[in-house]
């Protein structure tokens, strides 16, 4: 087999980086457009969309859209609500789903495969089809709050958290990952006298960082982007998340600069979260072949 000449290798490398840069720009341009547009007054923003100026911070640049966006809507409250709802759901989901997946992957019990099949089958059921039955269920659940006992969970944080703690995709991700782990580790731990709980906590969790990161990111995105469910159950502004808040900006004459400013602000938590877990996420995809 002929060796690749150094000159050819240089050309190949150059082509590869050109292609990768081009692909990267395709993904980055919308974000650049969003951030740059958030700094422009509406009229300039609309005029600039027809040219490359749309991606450049030129012309009448200011933070006015940000100030106006915060005046139009309680942006801080919406972000707080979304982070709280998403954070709690992700944390509980990682625990509950990994625990369930541990049982499916390592324990033997009657009906295990049937139940796992049913759980995986839920992946093909669109949320819209179960939204109304779910609404009727949560509306009849008992609740104790600062104002006492009542029936119905509407207008609360828990109604946006509890129904989403366990889900088929997250359980499936963990099961797939756990099944690929060396069985010898489990057997060795059992021989050493470890309980199943100890094996989960001391053996499985420490070596499952990538799948935890992947599940966390996917869950985070799904929860942070929730729209239909909070629209139905959060009638009080106090509990509304960012995606419902986005609607505040779509008046008859849309203030696009404010929309872009709002989108920029609410995108930050997602970016920070992703960057924080990026390395583990990529490792998980590389090791399991699971695509997010």
């Amino acid at each position: 087999m002929a060796a690749v000449k150094p000159a050819n290798r240089g050309v190949n490398l150059w082509l590869r980086y050109t292609l990768l840069t081009f692909v990267a720009l395709i993904f980055i341009f919308p974000i650049v457009f969003m951030v740059v547009s958030s700094l422009k007054p509406d009229q300039q923003l609309l005029v600039d969309t027809g040219s490359l100026r749309a991606f450049l911070p030129v012309g009448d640049i200011s933070l006015n859209n940000y100030f106006e966006a915060f005046e139009r809507a309680p942006v801080g409250l919406f972000i707080f609500n979304s982070i709280l709802i998403t954070g709690v759901t992700v944390a509980l989901s990682l625990f509950v789903c990994s625990f369930g997946a541990f049982s499916f992957a390592f324990l033997k019990w009657r009906g295990r495969d049937v139940i796992l099949a049913i759980i995986i089958a839920t992946l093909i059921v669109p949320f819209e089809t179960i939204a109304i039955p779910m609404l009727l269920v949560v509306n009849n659940l008992p609740m104790v709050s600062s104002s006492g006992f009542k029936i119905g969970w509407l207008n609360s944080y828990q109604v946006q958290i509890v129904p989403f703690i366990a889900d088929g995709l997250t359980i499936f991700l963990f099961v797939q990952y756990f099944r690929d782990l060396p069985r010898e580790l489990i057997e060795a731990a059992r021989i050493d006298g470890a309980s199943w709980l100890q094996i989960y906590r001391r053996v499985i969790v420490p070596i499952s960082g990538p799948v935890f990161a992947t599940a966390a990111i996917l869950k985070f995105l799904a929860m942070y982007n929730q729209y239909l469910w909070p629209l139905m159950v959060a009638q009080s502004e106090q509990y509304r998340p960012v995606m419902v808040g986005l609607q505040y900006f779509f008046q008859l004459n849309v203030a696009w600069g404010e929309v872009m400013a709002y989108l920029t602000v609410i995108t930050l938590p997602v970016l920070v979260f992703y960057l924080f877990l990026q390395r583990a996420f990529i490792a998980s995809i590389a090791s399991t072949g699971i695509k997010g």
Partner: protein, 420 residues
Amino acid sequence: MNKLTLFGGAVVLSTLLASTAMAQTELSMWYHGAGNPNELEVLDVIIDDFNGSQSDWNVVLEKFPQESYNESVVAAALAGNLPDIIDVDGPVMPNWAWAGYMAPLELSDGALDGFLPGAIGEWNGNIYSVGLWDAGLAIFARKSVLEANDIRVPTLDNPWNEAEFDALLLKLQATGDFDFAIDMGMAWTGEWYPYAFSPFLQSFGGDIMDRSTYKTAEGALNGDAAIAFGEWWQALFARDLSPGTSQDGADRGSGFLEGKYALQWNGNWAALPALEKFGDDMLFLPAPDFGNGPRIGAASWQFGVSASSENQDGASAFIEFAMQDKYLAQFSDAIGLIPATAAAAAMSKNYKSGGPLEVFFGLSENQATLRPVTPGYVVAALDFEKAMADIANGADVPDALDAAVDAINSDIEKNSGYGF
């Protein structure tokens, strides 16, 4: 002793005040104006005034973004969680009343005297909702453009007819000064289509459905008059007189102001920016008469009472309180819409005699036509919208209208005639 007396008095007073507040029954109210601080400011004033004017009721406002308001109401209705007072878009009201979400209002005799017809939400013989304002449409034009092209300025009594309108559009297009002779607003999808375009159909003699029975669209939406309308409509786009369905939303917003369009079919909410831009050169002209009188759409957001409210008398009392002319004028000044009464128009800064938007009150009073007052309208509106877009995009006119009629009739049948 004096201190003790003072303290005792303070305790008694605060207890009395507290018990007065406690005596007020809470009325929950939902409103679609979240994200619109000017609008909410006026509503807050009305609520504060009402709460302070009597001791029985205390209105508490919950605001929703307009884009998702209807979905929130329907979800709440499913959950049995509707508030006492809701606001509702005029053409949607019959559907919500039919679905059992709303109860008839309990208004005093004469409370609606002088209200524009578009502001009164009546269905099945009952008043379910009242609007504090209405919205009106006009052809936006510049005097200088019409004069330069020797085009007559139409009036309420003498609007353009079909031939005249067609000829002037061709003339304006031929100047080459504009991208399009008229902008109909095809970029604004949704309720804009039936609100803005069905009046043309009605002026031709057709309608979205047969209003004599409300049981079919046959004949109304696919009869000779409707086909004539459809052909005229299609010709607007086929001859490039108006931008079609691919129109950029940004152009819809700023195209007329930037001189891309010679004329524009638009609402009074867009009038002030046009006046600011063109000043005395700006004209708001009545809709053309296509044979059955010039027509424009009517009915905007209105207040109503939910059927599940245990305090319907209080909810109606609030609505009647809000119907005072001074509040109608305040709303108009804040959001630019047409006050629902002539007296309020006279108090407003834009619609008073000699005001910059006075013409819209006349248009609304004389040309306004309600969209079909039936629960089936919400579905028919979608079918009409699709037909309008299809025809604009070159679909066969009779086929597109027949398809819309079939879809509307099928929905009416599925819902057992919606009670008609």
